[in-house]
Symmetry: C2
Subunit: 244 residues, 2 copies
């Protein structure tokens, strides 16, 4: 069943009249009586469509949905800003795998430069991808992109567990830091995961991150692409905390 994250006012008025209405009417071709899931990003409800006109969908609530499927920890992915459409790919897959939110991080070896004037539009577009991926994977909460910032402008103080995915650690067969951290996570922890861009992380940046409480971790003996690292981390957290 398709899920829609809708504004609080929409949930109150029981009317959807934005691009989601277009999706319901034109893409999904729903009819009166069909059921959808709606959420104001707080609670999720099973809803039944009661009318469809031009670009306006009315619904009534059937009941609140019980299941919460969020990871037991909040994971923020700090992604060294990559080339091409990799950031979109990372957002999409990491949202499925339970990430809470994302920062694009401008690092020494980031090749792409972000035009400050276009940044807001970029972030808005990324947040659309977050919304769609959250809906498709029936996330209880919507993931989001917080900002795109230079490394040194990010405040890491709110995170109580801080991981650097570090290729050099992998090459040196460092294979215990990651599991130590993940296996000792507690429900509600705020986890920061920093991943370098394609060219990796500069030694000076590593030193800076360590001074901020980050721990360099190897993710196994193979070299992972920048867009694969967050999936490894999130899968491992799910495996460790959600499976019995």
């Amino acid at each position: 069943m398709q899920k829609y994250f809708i504004p609080k006012e929409s949930l109150e008025s029981k009317i959807i009249d934005n691009s989601d209405a277009f999706h319901i009417i034109k893409v999904m071709r729903n009819r009166i009586g069909d059921q959808i899931l709606v959420s104001d990003n707080d609670k999720t409800y099973l809803a039944e469509i009661t009318s469809l006109e031009n670009n306006k969908v009315s619904f009534k609530i059937v009941h609140e949905e019980a299941g919460i499927n969020e990871l037991p920890v909040f994971v923020t992915i700090f992604q060294g800003y990559p080339k091409g459409d990799k950031f979109e790919e990372i957002i999409k897959h990491s949202t499925e795998l339970g990430a809470s939110n994302f920062y694009g991080v401008m690092m020494k070896r980031s090749i792409v430069k972000i035009d400050e004037k276009k940044k807001d539009a970029k972030i808005e577009r990324f947040n659309k991808i977050c919304k769609e991926a959250s809906e498709q994977s029936l996330r209880y909460k919507m993931s989001y992109v917080s900002d795109i910032l230079p490394l040194k402008k990010i405040d890491f103080s709110q995170y109580n567990k801080k991981i650097i995915c570090y290729e050099e650690s992998a090459k040196e067969n460092e294979s215990s830091n990651f599991k130590n951290i993940i296996s000792s996570l507690n429900k509600g922890d705020n986890v920061a995961v920093l991943i370098g861009p394609e060219g990796g992380i500069d030694q000076e940046e590593i030193n800076y991150l360590i001074s901020k409480g980050f721990i360099p971790c190897g993710l196994g003996p193979r070299i992972l692409r920048t867009e694969t690292a967050s999936m490894y981390v999130l899968s491992a957290i799910s495996y460790e905390m959600e499976l019995k």
Copy 2:
């Protein structure tokens, strides 16, 4: 450092004269004295380039490389054949994460049909992607695509652990089968991982697979896209077996 999987004869003659030579000369712009890694898919060697002409690279062996970075188990991904270029994406990322080989599986809900006449060319192209991904992630062994076959034509008898990634299990909060299997893997096990296409797995197919010794497993409480499931499985196996 760039790695090249080369034919056994190439390793004996110390001459590379296929498309890898083009890559060394034109893409990487290597010069005499530069070092590369070469492997005949058995052992890996550090090599030094001794001459470069038109499309021919000569090298000498410096020494054999010691590190083996293969997963301690052999994982075959049986991927319900998906739409678009998702199979390529799955091969690429799963190779990084340590998969041994792949089958494309034609299942009831596979939308794409494979033209038998074009199958061999398709498999050849997929195997090029395997080679490149294996080289990029410095895999010790090259991954490969074995075949594209209808489900019922596949012989699963050589696998001693068989997993179905099953969305319905996830929805029913089944959360122990996967961890039970992964945490009891032994070095050298042959693991079959079956993942449905976008539309999921038909109940009749599930029954058939169960009769072949497969166990349906939920991969956590969120709905994963078909192209994300293998990454979850391989990351979890690495986390369980390769990290301490």
